[in-house]
Structures are given as C-alpha cells and as structure tokens.
C-alpha cells in the first residue's frame, strides 16, 4: 500500500523556524510579534499552535508558510530556505509544497467542488493523481457532491472541500488557520478528524493555529505562544490539559 511510504518518520523535519523574529513599526510604536522563536515541525506530525490573541501564533504560521516576511532568523520548508526567496519563488513553493486551510473556507464560488479541490494542481499545470484524488475525496466524504458549487454546500461540507484541496496536491506540509473557527462543533470535529486521519493514515504533516482547546486536543503536540515567544508545549494533549495550561497563562498574564 502506498500509505506505507507516508509512515511517520520522527526524525525528518518538514518545516523549521530558527531564531525567527517579526517586528512591526519602529521606535516608540514598535511591536514585536515574534521574538526569537525556534521551532521544528516534524514530518508526519499534527501540531497545534495556541496562545491568546496577539500572542503571535498567526504571525508564526504566516511566516513559516511563506505568506509573510520576517525581520530576522530563518525558516526552512524541507530543504528550502525561505528568507532568500523572491515573491515568484515563494509563490511556487506555496503552490507545490504547502497546503492551506482557512477559517473562512475561501473556496471560489464559480468553481465546482471538484474544480476547487484540483485548483492548486490546475494552477501548477499538473495533472491530478487520480488514485490519490479519489482516496482523498472518499476520505472527506464528498463523492456525491463533486459537481456542487460552494453555495450549494453547508459550511462543514465547504470546509471538507478545503481540506481535500489542501491534501490533493500531496504537499509537504499543511497549514490551517483556525480551520474550525466558522463551524459548528459537529462539523468542526469531522474536519479535525480528517486532519488527524491524514496524519495518521497518509503520513501528512499538519500545523494548525487555534484558540479552541478541543481542537488542539486532536493534535500530537501543542505549542503555546505568548508575547511572541514559545512558552510551553504538550505532547499528546487532552482538551482539559490544554485548557488548564491556557488558564495558567491567562492568570499569569493578568497578574504580571
């Protein structure tokens, strides 16, 4: 079976940020969004990034995913160093090696579900791997809805299309930005289930930003950010464990 090729390999690193800093503004109005962050995202692992609003969790994801520039440090996706890339190369990198899932689904309303799923490959001018595509579609349970347009789908179904789109091009790493933020809890659980399955069964690497402890509990590892720094991390988290940890930061933040 092909799944064997994607068996978790705990030693390989899919993405790595080294002493990453991101500073907005200058002088008095300077805001440090990321402060010397070093983190590895291991292949075949599901990582959740958590932290209160303004902690820098989204910025970290954007920088690692090549969506935003950073002020200092370095980021690697696989073997590629992002800091030296021009916009065109970055775009190509995102296209070929990264998958995205957004909070607001962000599907093109003019395309059918299937066309949305294959969009990254269409952009790249590549033919979709039919077998793989069928597998992904089957996994997210969209087989009967492929010719529907996004407006004819529920929010949960739309996000499943988005998940399939991220998986379809076999990216090295998938980033999710609050992928369950706009979903009811049942649909959210489904989507998180798919993401976890993609890691467990397909060997996919997933990094997800969330503020929901239940969502984070689906991950293999949770890292906590506060004031632009990584302050903690849990492996094999539970929702309660994450919540407790969060509460602790919250309390600390308030007293300090």
């Amino acid at each position: 079976m092909t799944t064997m090729n994607f068996a978790p390999n705990t030693t390989a690193v899919a993405a790595r940020a080294t002493q990453l800093s991101k500073v907005y503004g200058q002088g008095e109005t300077q805001v440090v969004a990321l402060d010397n962050v070093t983190v590895d995202f291991v292949q075949g692992q599901f990582t959740a990034i958590m932290g209160p609003s303004g902690s820098g969790k989204s910025t970290l994801m954007h920088c690692v995913a090549g969506l935003d520039t950073f002020s200092a440090g370095s980021v690697r996706i696989g073997e590629t160093e992002l800091g030296s890339l021009k916009d065109k190369q970055l775009t190509q990198l995102r296209r070929d090696k990264i998958g995205f899932i957004f909070q607001a689904f962000n599907l093109l309303p003019t395309l059918t579900a299937l066309e949305n799923i294959t969009l990254p490959m269409d952009i790249a001018g590549r033919k979709a791997d039919k077998q793989w595509l069928d597998k992904v579609i089957e996994m997210v349970g969209l087989s009967g809805r492929l010719s529907h347009r996004p407006t004819q789908l529920s929010g949960g179904q739309q996000q499943r299309v988005a998940v399939a789109r991220a998986l379809a091009s076999k990216p090295e790493i998938i980033f999710g930005d609050e992928p369950t933020g706009n979903l009811d809890s049942r649909s959210g659980a489904e989507v998180l289930g798919f993401l976890r399955n993609s890691v467990r069964e397909l060997g996919q690497t997933v990094v997800m930003v969330t503020h929901d402890p239940v969502a984070a509990s689906y991950a293999d590892r949770v890292i906590f950010l506060a004031d632009g720094r990584i302050v903690d991390e849990i492996h094999r988290p539970t929702a309660d464990g994450v919540l407790d940890r969060m509460k602790a930061f919250d309390a600390k933040g308030r007293t300090s």
Binding site: L67, D87, T91, R94, D96, D122, R165
Partner: protein
C-alpha cells in the same frame, strides 16, 4: 440624512472617481460645445457687423433676369444708376463691386487655396483714392489693367512681393499681372483661409460681368444723413433686378444667418454629447449599485435605528446629487477649456477664426449643471430604489451576504420583446426603400434598448463560447477570468453595453461609408473610360476655349465636354441634358446602350437614360418637342436608350445642339473628358496641363484622382465621426475600469486565497486583464453585429439611388475595432490588475 450622504461621498472618493470622470467628460462635451459655438457665433457676427459699419445702404443685383418676352434685363447695376445714387444729397461715397472666381498660382504653377474659396473682386477707390474695405500693408491698390492686389496670406503663401509677376486664372485663360499691393481685410471668406485678388475696376468688370456694370453697391452716408431716408431715395433708382437694404438690416440678417449656421453645428455636437452622457449613465448606475450593495449592512442599520425607507432612499439620491453637483461644476470648467482648445485646434488646421471674447452664457452654465445632476441622479435612481428592499435585520448579519442572483426571466422577456420589435421594424424598414429610414430609426432605437436589457443574458453564451479558448491558451487564469466575467451578469452586461452603443454607431457608419465609397468607386471605374477629367477647381464652368486647346494637344485621341443644358418638354417639365462630342464619347464614357446606337448622336439624335425613357414613354425612333432656354423649340428624335449613370444627365445629345440655343450666354461646361495615346502617364498629363496654359484654376485628374476625391470625402467624414464618438468610447472605457476595480475590490479575499495557494502575481494580473478583455470584446461583438445589421438596413433604403450598390463589410476595419476593443480591455485592466497583484494576502484572507 444630508450629512450622512455627504460623509458617504467623502468615504468612497476612490470608488466614485470613475463616476465623477464620466459625468465630467459628458458635461464638458456639452458646455464646451455651447461655449465654443456661442463664442464663434459672437465673433463672426461682430466681424460681419464691423464690415457693415460704414455702409448706410447696400444695393445688390440679382443678375440678368430673362423677361417674359425672352429679352434679358441688364446684367447688373449700371454706371448710370451708380452716378445717380452718387449724386444724391445725403450720399458721401458709393463703391461698386463685381466678384467672381480668381485663382492664384504659386511659383510651381499650383493653385493657392482650395478652389471654392478663391475669389476675385474689383478695387473700388472712393474719393480719397482708398477702398475702405481694404488696408494696404504694402504697395497700393491696382489702378492699371495689368495690376492686381493680393490678400496678405495668399501673397506670403506664394512668396510674392510687390512688383512681382503673378499668374492669375479666372474663368477664362490664365493671365500674368503685376502685384501692386498687399492688403488685409475683414472679409469673412478671406479670414476663413480663402484667397482674394483685387483687379482694377474695368478689368474686373470685364472679367466678371460687363464693362460699366456692378453686382453690388455700398453707399456711405454723409454725417447727419439717415440710412432709412437714403434707402427710400435709392430704392426708386435701382430698378427691378436689384434690391436695396440698409447696412444695419444687412448686418442683422447676416448675424441671423450665422446664428442659424451655428445652431446646426451645435445640434450635431450636442447629439454626440448626448450619446456620451447616455453611455455615462451605465457607469454611474454600476457604481451606485455596488455602493448600495456594499452598504447593505450600514443602510440596514439606519433602518434598524428608525430611518424610514424614504429616508434611506433619499440618502442615496442625495449622494448622487452631491456627486452630480461636484462633477458638473468640474465638467463646466473643463468645457471652457475644451472650447479654448477647440478654437486653437481649428486655427492650427488653417481655418482662421476671428478673435473674440469667450462667451459663457448663464444658460450654458445652467444647462451644464442641470444635465450633469439630472443624469447622475437618474442613473442612481434604480439603485436607490433598491435600498427600500433592505430589511432592518440585514444589519445583524455576520458577513455581507452574496448578492442573490435575482431571476432574469422578466427582464429577458421584456428585452426580448423589445429586440424582436426593433429587429422586425429594421427589417421591415429595409424592405420599404427610401421611405423606410424613419422606420429603421425607430427599429434601431428599440433594438438597442432591447439588446441593452438582454445583454446580461447574452453574456452567458458568449463567455461560455470563449471559455474553452481562454482556458487552453491562458490556463487557469483564463478559466477563472471567463468565470468571473459571468459572475455578475448585470454588471458585465451594463459595462459591455456602453461599449456596444459606441461600437454600433462606429461600425454602422463605417460599413455604410465603405459601402457607398466602393459603389462610387465602381461607378467611376465602370463609367469613365477617359484617361483624364478636366474641370475647374472652383467647380465653375470651364471656358469654351479649353476644347480646341485640348483637341490640338499632342497625344490626345479623343475629347468630349460634358456640357450642361436644359430644355422643357410637354407640360413645362425642365429636363437636364448633357452635351457631348459624338465623335469621342464612345472612347471616353461607357454608355451601356439598351437599344439604338450612340452613333446616332452625330445625326443630332438624343440618347435617353432608361429610367427617364420609361417614365416619359420614349423609345428609339420616337421624337418629342424640346423648348430650349432661348425660347426656341426643336424636334428631337431618340437615337438610343442607355442605362442611367451618375456622370451624365438623363438626356445626352451633341453639344452643338445645345450651342445653337445658348442665346449669347456662356456654355456651361462642367467637365471635359480626354483620352490620350498610350493612356495615363506623367508625360501625357503634362501635355494636357501645358495645352491648358498651365492654368492653376483647372484641375486635371486621372482615374485614381477622381476616385480619391470621393474616397477622401468619405474617409474624412468617417474620421470626424470617429472623433466625435471618441468621447462616448472613452467613457465606456472608464466603465470597464470602474467595473474591474469594483470586482477586484469585492474579490479581495478570493484573490488573496489564490495568491496563498500559489497563483503568482503575473497570473493574477492576467486573470483580471482577461476578464476585462472578455467584457470589452463581448460589448464590441454586440456593437459590431448590431452596427452591421443597421448599416445593411439603411443600405437597402439608399440602394435605389446608387447604381451597382452592394453591401461591403470592411472586415479589415471591423477586425481593427475588435482588436482595439481587446486593447481597451488590457489598458482598462492596467490599474485594477496592478492593485489585485499587489493585494496583501494576509489582510485578504483574514475574515472580518
């Protein structure tokens, strides 16, 4: 509410910019036209008033009139009448005038000026030896038979100094004169770029009338003498064939004529301004539709906190009002600038326009403002009305809802019905011959409106058709562009409609122009076998002396005049006749003989055009009574019936027959056709020019020249039309920019997502550009189609008056129009595409 509206205007400055520009351009066209024509009219009438300043009374002759007894009256105002008037008590001085054509040759023997604007007159010194109409800047007025004076511009164009020999052609042969003086004058024709030659009085009389006669007298009054009193004294002296008027009355009449001429020009320009404004309505409509859609939440909030439907609606209309006021004011100012620009532009084309103040009438300002405001509010009215349907609960919605695609069924039915009525009327009109033009006009109106209503529906099949091509050539960017273009069919339709209107007119005019041009061209080559056509540049009659001159010229094999004549038949019907040379005519003009033979012309028989023969019941061998101009009657026998053509009158006979009945008048020779040994060549042409005494007033045209004359006129008219329609097309382009800017703005999130998942900047730009190209081409295709159809229909109505009419579709020009439409799309997308490519992905993909 007013304050809210005002704030909204300020908040949406960027999105209103195209709307403002569209109104500014339309209003500028209107006010520019009004200011320009008012100023020009004022300058012209004050100039004409100035030229009548010293004229108390003016006497004008009607020329020789044939009395009932067949005798002719005097050719003009006699010297005796002149002397009698000069002897009147209140008369200070009298100046007599004769005038006619006079062409001046430059050093190379070519005519200075353009034929119809070359005139000659007499130098008429009054008591002090000066002619008050002319100010001499060098030399003196001509007082010897061999002397002339020239207007300053003509003298400098020919590089002539006082004392130089100048060759001048009048209707007779060319003569050489000595330049005695150079003058300036207020004469309108000279100011408009024409040339004027002044001769010594007797010479001028001999050239243009008859010694001792004048065509016009201008009478200056002594101080204290009243013009009206003088007029009553002059009137009994001038006789039947002349009229006397006071200078004041003349000036007034002139001013009225000028005003009338201006209003004609005004109407044409305003019609084009109306088209531009009409096109602008679409752009404004789109903008306000989008502003209302984007503000749904805001407007719902207003409703939620207690604003009534009317108040909400009014707030949008007030916004439109504010936009209208601002843009009309700018447009008004731009119009003044346009008028100034137009004046100097015309000046640089050689048409000298008299100086004068810029006339900005209060009515112009009012018209400009009212039109601008009304057009803006009218266009915003439908979108404003839609605000009433916004439910207060929409304020609570989390994100702005996607525009629900309202059914187009009702709209399509109405549009379809209108278009069907329109097309049926056009087709019916086309079948009605020349009476069908009004019907076609109605049909064109209905079908245009119908198409505009239907255009969102039409956009789907069009874009579905081009989509595979776009996808194949441009990949995913092409596919997305095609899909985006049909996303908001109403907006796409409205945008394309504005281009379609302009292109319907442009294509219609082009197809008609080219078709008529081709028909004339074919007619020329079909009928004229002669190598050269000789005619006066002024369009006047050639002198009889050119015929023997040409016959004697070396290498000339056949010569025939086309001499105009008239005779009456039966119940006083005037018939036009062409006098030709029977010996040469077969070599020079192709007369397609239906029956009989043109050889019979030599026997004094007449050839009759087929249509006329049918109407008059004439066949070969029949004869009829023809009463000629000199009152004599001759019995003419039909020797041939030929197929009607544009170059000959319906009756063709030997010029000698016409000559018999001239009664002492000059023969009216319109053209002379010449065939030469070996056909057209530079040497042969030179021989003809030499035979004519290198007369600058005579034009010698070969077949290409003849065809180019007609083609040139048609091309020039088309170019003027293109220029006038340019404003409407410009506004249509602004509409495309506007629509794309809106689309990019609305789809920020999508574009951000596409960038995130790997669509590079170049392809994002391509996607926007292609969308613009698709929309532009769609409008262009509709316009080209409708325009061609209309041209076909109008062509059917003029078919009968043009022999050999055949519709010519100028695929090359139409191809250029479509190409230009595509270029317009690319250009219009420049700014929106750039802003799409520069979009910040992060803000774009963040949810609200």
């Amino acid at each position: 509410m007013f304050r809210t509206a005002l704030r909204n205007v300020l908040a949406h400055k960027a999105r209103l910019i195209m709307t403002v520009l569209a109104v500014v351009l339309g209003v500028a066209f209107v006010s520019g036209t009004l200011v320009f024509t008012d100023s020009l009219g004022k300058a012209l009438s004050s100039q004409s008033a100035k030229s009548y300043d010293n004229v108390a009374v003016s006497v004008t002759s009607y020329g020789s009139v044939r009395e009932d007894d067949g005798k002719k009256s005097e050719p003009g105002i006699s010297q005796q009448t002149f002397d009698k008037i000069a002897a009147l008590d209140g008369v200070d001085s009298v100046a007599g005038r004769v005038q006619g054509f006079a062409g001046v040759a430059d050093a190379k023997g070519k005519l200075i000026g353009n034929g119809w604007a070359n005139s000659g007159s007499n130098f008429a010194p009054v008591k002090d030896g000066k002619d008050p109409r002319y100010d001499f800047t060098g030399g003196n007025g001509p007082v010897q038979p061999g002397q002339i004076a020239l207007d300053k511009d003509t003298a400098s164009k020919g590089d002539y100094q006082v004392g130089d020999k100048v060759r001048v052609a009048t209707n007779g042969p060319v003569k050489e004169y000595t330049l005695a003086g150079v003058f300036t004058t207020e004469d309108g024709q000279v100011n408009a770029g024409g040339s004027l030659v002044l001769f010594e009085q007797r010479t001028a009389q001999k050239l243009y009338l008859q010694p001792g006669y004048y065509t016009e007298l201008t009478i200056a009054a002594k101080p204290g003498a009243k013009a009206d009193t003088l007029l009553s004294e002059v009137k009994p002296l001038v006789g039947e064939n002349a009229t006397a008027e006071t200078g004041a009355a003349l000036a007034e009449r002139n001013a009225k004529d000028i005003e009338q001429g201006m209003s004609g020009m005004n109407q044409v320009l305003l019609a084009f301004a109306a088209i531009a404004l009409f096109v602008g309505i679409f752009l404004i409509y789109n903008t306000f539709t989008m502003l209302v859609a984007q503000r749904t939440k805001e407007l719902a909030l207003l409703r939620a906190v207690g604003a009534s439907r009317r108040q909400v609606k009014r707030s949008v209309l007030i916004e439109a009002f504010v936009v209208g006021v601002i843009s009309s004011a700018i447009g008004m100012l731009a119009g003044v600038g346009l008028a100034i620009g137009l004046r100097s532009a015309m000046g640089s084309f050689g048409a000298k326009i008299p100086d004068g103040p810029l006339v900005i009438a209060p009515s112009t300002v009012l018209t400009a403002l009212v039109i601008g405001i009304v057009v803006t509010m009218l266009a915003a009215w439908l979108p404003a009305r839609r605000t009433a349907k916004i439910a207060p609960v929409a304020a609570m919605g989390s994100a702005h809802l996607p525009a629900t695609a309202k059914s187009l069924v009702l709209r399509n039915s109405i549009g379809g019905a209108l278009a069907v009525i329109g097309f049926a009327a056009i087709a019916a009109g086309a079948g009605m011959g020349s009476d069908g033009r009004v019907v076609i006009g109605f049909g064109a109106f209905f079908s245009l409106i119908g198409i505009i209503v239907l255009i969102p529906w039409l956009s789907r099949p069009f874009i579905a058709a081009v989509r595979p091509l776009l996808q194949r050539v441009f990949g995913v960017a092409g596919k997305l562009a095609a899909q985006n273009a049909v996303r908001n069919p109403r907006r796409t339709g409205v945008t394309a409609a504005s281009l379609a209107i302009g292109l319907t007119l442009v294509t219609g005019l082009t197809v008609l122009g080219v078709t008529v041009g081709k028909a004339v061209d074919k007619m020329t080559t079909d009928v004229i076998k002669a190598d050269y056509m000789v005619a006066m540049a002024s369009g006047n009659s050639l002198d009889k002396s050119v015929l023997p001159a040409l016959e004697k010229a070396p290498g000339v094999t056949a010569v025939s005049p086309q001499q105009a004549g008239y005779f009456k038949t039966g119940d006083d019907i005037y018939n036009a006749a062409s006098g030709v040379n029977p010996k040469g005519i077969d070599q020079l003009l192709k007369m397609e003989v239906v029956s009989g033979s043109t050889a019979s012309l030599a026997d004094g028989k007449v050839a009759v055009a087929d249509k006329t023969a049918k109407k008059a019941g004439l066949t070969v061998g029949k004869s009829f009574e023809a009463k000629f101009d000199d009152g004599k009657t001759e019995r003419l026998t039909v020797g041939a019936v030929y197929k009607e053509n544009e170059f000959l009158s319906p009756y063709v006979l030997d010029a000698k027959v016409l000559d018999r009945h001239l009664g002492g008048e000059r023969a009216e020779i319109r053209q002379v056709f010449v065939a030469t040994q070996g056909g057209e060549s530079a040497a042969n042409e030179q021989k003809i020019v030499d035979a004519l005494g290198s007369n600058p007033a005579i034009s010698v045209q070969d077949q290409t020249d003849i065809r180019n004359t007609f083609g040139g006129i048609i091309n020039m008219m088309l170019n003027i039309m293109y220029g006038l329609l340019g404003m409407a097309l410009l506004i249509a382009i602004l509409g495309v920019v506007n629509t794309l800017a809106m689309s990019v703005f609305e789809r920020q999130q999508e574009i951000g997502m596409l960038r995130a998942i790997g669509l590079d900047r170049a392809r994002v730009k391509n996607m926007i550009r292609l969308e613009a190209v698709v929309i532009s081409l769609f409008g262009a295709v509709i316009g080209v189609g409708l325009g061609t159809f209309l041209a076909w229909a109008i062509g059917q109505t003029i078919k009968n008056s043009i022999p050999d009419y055949a519709l010519v579709i100028p695929f090359d020009r139409i191809g250029i129009f479509l190409l230009l439409a595509a270029v317009v799309g690319v250009l219009a997308a420049m700014w929106p595409a750039r802003s799409a490519a520069r979009l910040n992905m992060l803000t774009a993909i963040k949810t609200e």
